[in-house]
Subunit: 239 residues, 2 copies
Amino acid sequence: MTQTGNGTPAYQRIQSGILELIRTGELKPGDVVESERELAKIHGVSLMTARHALTELEREGAVVRKRGTGTFVAPPKIHFNKLMSFTEQMASRGLPEYSKVLSARVIEREAEIAARLLLSPQQSLLKLERLRQGSGEPFALETCYLSAEKYSGLVNAPLQRASLFSILEKQYGLQIAYADEEIDAIAAEARTAQLLSVARGSPLLRIRQVIYSASGFREIYVLGLYRADRHVLNVRRFR
Amino acid sequence: MTQTGNGTPAYQRIQSGILELIRTGELKPGDVVESERELAKIHGVSLMTARHALTELEREGAVVRKRGTGTFVAPPKIHFNKLMSFTEQMASRGLPEYSKVLSARVIEREAEIAARLLLSPQQSLLKLERLRQGSGEPFALETCYLSAEKYSGLVNAPLQRASLFSILEKQYGLQIAYADEEIDAIAAEARTAQLLSVARGSPLLRIRQVIYSASGFREIYVLGLYRADRHVLNVRRFR
DNA sequence: AAGTGGTCTAGACCACGGC
DNA sequence: CCGTGGTCTAGACCACTTC
């Protein structure tokens, strides 16, 4: 008797159940999760199916399994390698944040940048230059480039208030998936130094990122220059 | 009749077989991998077991599965967020590499660094300072700190020739798992500038990493200073 | 000894893709 | 239509941890 119930697979329903308990705080990090056999019985499912559910949850880092002992809620996740907008980053640290839009306009014939987005060299681009401030001090200079064709409406968007990510996600239905970043350091040249209130030649962290949509397209190119004395990047690398 | 053969699980043997074909080039990116049913028959194993093997290979990024179509060798992996030693990095790019050991000795009372390894402030540390050169030019200055108690033998290890990682893995049985890195930029001070053959005040990429063993302990602290004009860091971040 | 996760079997039905 | 991967069953034995 296979009782699939609704359309969602049984193993996913089991996962949702556990994730819900974690989300609501009913299960805290370190707490025991029901064993495979218990889950199988409760959900009226075979052992393999219950196992499947836990295997995926472990892979996602939600739980930890210990042979001979049980399955436990994983320690609070550290948000390493998470792609967050400036706004989100500041919010997650509880810091006040402010962005000044220096320019938002359409540019033409920027072949090099178009190439990074895999667009043809003549294609026009939307260029968005913002000075990021945190705790009242200038912090970073971020220049975003997007296809002008797709995102022309952004020129008049309330970027002063809302985060670019949230506008793209909500208004344009863009599903941001990941970003590849190139990180190095450069010396501040005159204009940048002045905008960021640092001396000319001061070391800046330069982050060039290509942001990909869930469907695999290159959607945004961002050139970020960060005051090294105000910014540390956190990365986790695996062997 | 369960024929396990040797000690390794069947699904791992199936994985090794496929990975070997990929490694030797017998299977190239885009090629079809044997179907679940074929694998099950060939290896005299049930369908679930063959599936398990492919599921893990897909998770690791070695293959891609397409419902209704088949399983294919994944496109060449991009080594994002991979923890590699300097030696490995240079080798993977086919570049000649050379390291000069500037010092290798035991130091005492370096409370701040001991703290990063969660050791007591008085504990003595092994300090290993190396100048990394690639293509004949100085490239980076790397200073490693390890527990002197555990790794005292390293003082006399052939670090000129073998990579620190490989010595730790082979001789000390250390299983390196991952590293958390703090990345920022600083201006080169006198000694560093001289060693790296750059002007004083040049921007350097500073990477401070804590390397963890598979059992979760903090094993190595590395302070790396990289010439920004010779080094770009690649990172992938996920939403 | 009892309970846990790890591996595995020999089937089954479904949804999807290509022909 | 046929072959593919996706989901699932109702058991089984093993290795490990805890008591």
